[in-house]
Every structure is written in structure tokens, then in C-alpha cells.
Point group: C2
Chain length 415, copies 2
């Protein structure tokens, strides 16, 4: 399989000119891409139709067909997304730190692109545009390996991106699409540590797991969220209800939705019935521990498996705890280090929870749903990292950069 190596090498060769591209040059290229995407809409839709035909033939689910489908409106939205990235600040070139050593050396820590980003993803062709725009804005080259179901759409989009780039100062080779969508091409990408600086898998849990387990390239893992809301003894009942219902029902299928409700036993005696009713009214199936079911007999019985499950659905596990410490222990055992929330009017208890809970985001009196690059004000989101190296939580543009040390001397040598 020469394709993967050759394209990864080409991307690698593009990074030296990308690294010195100015913000203006990068933005001009992005605006060109946005314009050409809109101008060539008919062509993209035609290729997308081929994917859809084949998808229907092989019996793809309606959900997958929907993710795969492009429309004029969706292409316009993709182009608008690129224009929004143009508006964001370019992190490359920022002097993060600068200091002088006693021997006169001046050391500057300067933000630079990561180099070549490998992206392995599934059906949605908008990821092709979105990832390319984020990579180019941060001076990175990108090697795209999308799923077979979207290959015609992806080919059309990348062809158009190449034609747009050809009219700019950004090298065409900065964007590479792997056209072979056999499993082996993804496997080969995982071993390209010579040419790829990072791999970002975007897709379901099994895709991410395969990448983490087999990649020799460093991975930015965006993982599952088994998020909890802990309602403390001193929680305001109205606020608790609002936050729990929002965390569970605002968008149940995403990673920052809450899956388990932990309730202090004293609070539960007074208010759990009312909270359970609100959740049930919102269509949530509740599965409780024995103690919870004594208070609210309408709860189904929770099994051990419920505490670890990311339902991504209108289902919530409910457990009574005796203290904040018991809540912290439960989260340490079952949590996925994504987002954990506490509702309490007691600041001391809140601080204990915030410090002891090991998660990307720990929220006091706020919905778990806020863990999001846009909600944080980043203006873009590459994903939500659940690992602790490099980046944690919502990742914006700076998370697609590294740094280098520029050392300025006047003849210093080491003694």
C-alpha cells in the first residue's frame, strides 16, 4: 500500500512552508475554500448522491444515511463554519514565555503548529471540511482517512479544496485524502509515526479504542462520558431539579449528558420524589439503588452494570449516598473523567468535591452540558479530550499546536 506512505510523506514535506505562512495567507486560503465549496455545490451534491445510492443499496441505517446526506443548506453551513474559523485568533507565533539566563541567553517559548495531523473518522463528510479548516488555520498539514460510505463525497470535497489552495500561497499537499478505504489503510496510518505528529479519531467508542490500542502515533483521545450529578444535603431543591433535568434531557445522545444521579440521603428523604417525578415527566426512565427505590417505588431496579453505562439515551441511574466522600468514591470507581457536577449551597463541600474529583471538568451549580468548546468561548472545538496528556476537556485551536524553544545567544558555550 504505497498510497498511505506517499501521502503522509507529501503532507510532511508541506509543513515547512505551512509553518512560516502568515495569518493572512492562511485566512485567504480558508476564505477561498469556503467560496469554492459554495460555487461547486452541484458537483459535491452529485458525488454525495453516489454515496447515498450505494448506502441505500447496502442497507445503511436511516441514522447513518442522515449523517451522510449533504444538502445545499448543509454545504452552506460547512462554508460558514470555515468563515467562522477565519475570524478566530491565530495561535501560531504567540510567545508563550520569554526569559533571560544569567549567561545572557534569551529563551523564547513560541507556539508552533503540531506538524501533520492524521484524522480517522466515519460517515460524516462535514468532518472533512471542518478538520481541514482547523488544521490549516493552525498551520498544520492533514491526512484525512474517512469511512468508505462517504468516499465519493470526500473525494469531491478534497478535489475542490485542492483547486482552491492552488490559487493561494498554502501548499496543495497540505491536505491529503486516503482514497483506499480498506481496513488496512487505517491500520497503516496508525503506524505512520515517522510522518504523523498526532492522530485524532472521531467516531464511536470502538473506533477510538482501536486507534488507542494500535497506534504508534500519539493520539488525542476524545472519549466516552459517564457523567454524574451529585445532589448534596445542602442543595437548593429548585436548582437541583433544573440542573439534573437539563444535564440529562437537554441532549441525551452526547458525551456531556449526565448518566447517573447521586443523591445525599438526607436530601433524598425530602426531595427525591419530586425530582424523580420531574425526570419521569421529561420521559426519563430511572433505575435506582435499593435505598432510592424505598423512597420512590416507581424506580426500576438498577444493576451493577448501570453504574458504568453511558446510556446516551433518556435513562438515568439513581443512587443514594451517605456523604460527599461516598459520592467522590463512586465517581472515582465508575466515572470516565469527563464532566462531574455537584449541586450544593455549601462552598466547603463544593471545594472538597472539586478538588478530589478527577475529571476534565468539575461543575458547581451548573449543568454538565456546559463542557463544550463553544460554551467555553473557544469559538471552535476539535473535540473533548478525556486523556490528561497534552489537552484535557474541550479543545480549541491552541490545542492543535505545540511549541518550540528559540534560543538567542552571542557565542555562548557550555562549560
Amino acid at each position: 500500500m504505497r498510497e498511505v506512505v506517499e501521502k503522509a510523506q507529501k503532507a510532511q514535506k508541506a509543513i515547512s512552508s505551512l509553518a512560516i505562512a502568515t495569518t493572512d495567507e492562511k485566512n485567504t486560503a480558508l476564505l477561498k475554500i469556503a467560496d469554492v465549496l459554495e460555487q461547486r455545490m452541484a458537483e459535491i451534491l452529485e458525488y454525495n448522491e453516489k454515496d447515498l445510492e450505494r448506502g441505500r443499496e447496502v442497507g445503511l441505517s436511516q441514522a447513518l444515511i442522515d449523517r451522510l446526506t449533504l444538502t445545499e443548506k448543509r454545504i452552506t453551513a460547512m462554508a460558514e463554519g470555515v468563515r467562522e474559523i477565519v475570524e478566530l485568533e491565530d495561535p501560531v507565533g504567540e510567545v508563550i514565555n520569554r526569559w533571560k539566563r544569567p549567561n545572557g541567553l534569551i529563551i523564547e517559548k513560541v507556539r508552533v503548529p503540531l506538524g501533520v495531523i492524521g484524522m480517522i473518522y466515519e460517515a460524516r463528510p462535514n468532518v472533512t471540511v471542518d478538520s481541514t479548516a482547523l488544521a490549516l488555520k493552525t498551520g498544520n498539514a492533514i491526512v484525512l482517512r474517512g469511512g468508505s460510505s462517504a468516499i465519493n463525497s470526500n473525494k469531491a470535497i478534497v478535489k475542490i479544496i485542492h483547486e482552491a489552495l492552488a490559487e493561494t500561497n498554502i501548499p496543495v499537499d497540505a491536505v491529503q485524502l486516503i482514497e483506499n478505504t480498506a481496513r488496512s489503510s487505517a491500520e497503516e496510518m496508525l503506524k505512520m509515526d515517522k510522518y504523523l505528529d498526532v492522530l485524532i479519531p472521531r467516531g464511536g467508542a470502538s473506533l477510538i479504542r482501536t486507534v488507542v490500542e494500535n497506534s504508534t502515533v500519539p493520539v488525542l483521545e476524545t472519549g466516552v462520558g459517564n457523567c454524574h450529578v451529585y445532589v448534596d444535603k445542602d442543595a437548593d431543591p429548585d436548582m437541583a431539579e433544573k440542573i439534573v433535568v437539563n444535564s440529562k434531557t437537554n441532549r441525551p445522545a452526547v458525551c456531556n449528558a449526565a448518566e447517573t444521579l447521586l443523591v445525599h440521603e438526607e436530601w433524598a428523604k425530602s426531595y427525591l420524589s419530586r425530582l424523580a417525578e420531574s425526570l419521569q415527566d421529561a420521559g426519563v426512565e430511572l433505575r435506582g439503588c435499593e435505598e432510592a427505590r424505598k423512597i420512590v417505588p416507581t424506580l426500576k431496579e438498577a444493576s451493577e452494570g448501570d453504574w458504568a453505562e453511558e446510556y446516551l439515551d433518556l435513562i438515568m441511574a439513581v443512587r443514594i449516598v451517605k456523604s460527599v466522600e461516598e459520592a467522590i468514591k463512586h465517581i472515582a470507581k465508575y466515572g470516565t473523567k469527563h464532566t462531574e457536577a455537584i449541586v450544593t449551597d455549601n462552598n466547603e463541600i463544593a471545594q472538597r468535591f472539586i478538588k478530589a474529583v478527577d475529571a476534565a471538568a468539575v461543575n458547581h451549580n451548573a449543568s454538565t452540558r456546559f463542557t463544550d468548546g463553544f460554551e467555553y468561548g473557544f469559538g471552535a472545538e476539535i473535540g473533548i479530550s478525556t486523556q490528561k496528556l497534552h489537552a484535557r476537556g474541550p479543545m480549541g485551536l491552541p490545542e492543535l499546536t505545540s511549541y518550540k524553544y528559540c534560543v538567542y545567544g552571542n557565542g555562548q558555550v557550555r562549560g
Copy 2:
């Protein structure tokens, strides 16, 4: 093999109390460790002697025996090293950034420990003490997996560390030593992504490669350095000589020593003979390209392999280039992204080199040997990263931390 899982789990359980340990509590524990290491010197030396006896029996090289050997002086140095770490600023708890969103949410990005660090290393028992001290100072638990040749020394040291910790507020379980030194125990550690947050291999290139290729745990890679010095057309001859000789000969066996000299053809005509003589006087064997050998006939002939080789010895490859661009291209092809230096009085050329060269450190008019945590003023060094994710170049205490987002609300939910 229950040992690896059980010890990794124990370390994982220790992190919630480590995360809330105060700087004073951590420093008290480190001082206790330093004191007890000195008080129990005789015991450590006795166990070290067992390793040395076995090492001589199995015919370890003198170099390995030397790395393995502990003396009173070396143990005192280890204890002093721990006390120096006490003096350094604790990065944990630093508020890296804090901002308020339009909806009133206050978001704090706070520095936190990584969690559990896995350390895989070879013969030197001082790594056991050094790594433990760096980990505990930054609130991390550590799982140590040293080489079989040092197992008795490591057992004695960790036993003493455990006894010291038992008298402090830092949990004894924060430090774990894998006593089984079969290859399988290292292999098992590489798959412990459920309990380990990062793996740091310390040792030779083949150990590091094995870890990178097989680990499902994120790796902090400290790699090889095929470092270059480029002497530009406008280089001051005296400065060039001083920097090239220092970069090559100051300590040839380390990763920031220079391996290849690139010289602009015009400069070479006037000054290469003199520079070559200085290097040869310092005992350096020079291997040149055809052009270089025309100017300095005493150079041996360089083969293609020489450009890629990290000699770690008094050998240097020499190549004539026509421009800074050719130097940049050579470095892009053969460099390992560690440290690259340019000697020139022309600031424009220097800036072009600094921006285009992709390396952890790019030095203008300074020796390559300065890429070092102590030389940068970090006060400690975990290693020199040659990857671009998480940390690049010399790593100090902050590089052993991650961050979390603490989000403060008063009932905010997402619309």
C-alpha cells in the same frame, strides 16, 4: 500476573488524597525520604552489593556495573537531589486562566497532577529516587518498573521510601515497585491504560521504541538527538569554531551533542580548514562530503548513513551546502527534531532558519548543549521530549501536570 494490576490499582486509589495534599505535606514527605535514605545507607549498600555480585557473575559490562554501583557519596547525592526538588515551586493548584462567560459562569483552568505515572527504566537505581521525588512533588503516584540488574537495590530503596511515607500524610501506596522483572511485567504495564495516565521510558533507543510501539498508555517520549550546527556565510569564524567544538566535544555521549556540521560553501572556502583542524585537535574524527574533502583533504569519506547517525562519540559528519535553504532541507530530512543551531551574524537568515526548522530547540549563536532543564532554569529535568504532544524539549515539574476546568455557576443550564 496479578502484581502489575494490583499495584497499578493501588497507585490509582492513592491519587485522590495526593491531589489534595498541600505543598507543605509533600515537601515534608520528600525531606523525610531524603533523611531516611541517608540514615539507612548501610542497608541500601548491602542490597546494592547483591546486585553487583550478580552483575559480575552474569558478566555485565564495566559501564553497566558503574551505572549500577551505589556508594555513600552517590546516596548522599540522591538525598541532596530530593532536597533540591523540595526547594522548587509546586506547580499544582496554579490557576492558569480564569474567565467569566456572558451567562455568568466562571471558568477556572487549574493545574492538577497527571495521576499515575508509569516509569520503565534500566540499570540505574538513582532513577528510582529521582522519579519518585519528581512524581510526589507534583502530586502524582508512581509505578516503578526498573531493570532486573538493579532489583535488590530498588527493593531496598522503595522499602525505605515506604517506611518514610508511613510517618507522613502522603499515602504509602503512592509509590509502587514492580518486583517481577520478567519481560512480561513490562509488557503488561504497557497495557495498563485503565490505571496509568502516562508512561515515561528512560533508557536506550530500543527500550523507548518498544514502549512507543506497544503502549496503549500515552507516552512521554525522550528520544535520540541527531543535532546539527549550520555555519552560515555570515558566521564569525571565532564564534563558529567555539560553538561547533563545544557542541561536539563538551559531552559527546549525550543527546544534545552535535553530530553533523553543515557549512555554507563560501564560508567553507575561507575557514573550514581552520575549523576542521580545531575539531581534529580535540580528537574528533571528521567524515565529509565530496565538496568538503576538496577543501580539507584529511577528512574521511562520509557515506549516506553518516547523515542519519547519532554517533554519541567523537565523530562528526561535515557537509557543504549552497544556502540556508539547503541546510534547512538537510535537517528536515535527517534531523530528529531535538536541537538545531545556526551560527550567523545575519539576523534575517537566522530568523528564516529558526522559523523553518522543526525542532524542540533552535539556537542562534549558541551551543546545542544548552537544551537541558537545568540550563533553561527549570531546576529539575524529567527528560528532553522529542515529541510534539504535551511537552517538547526539556521537561520540568509543570510537564508532570495536567489541568482541569473548575466551573462555578449559580444554577445555569443550557438552552
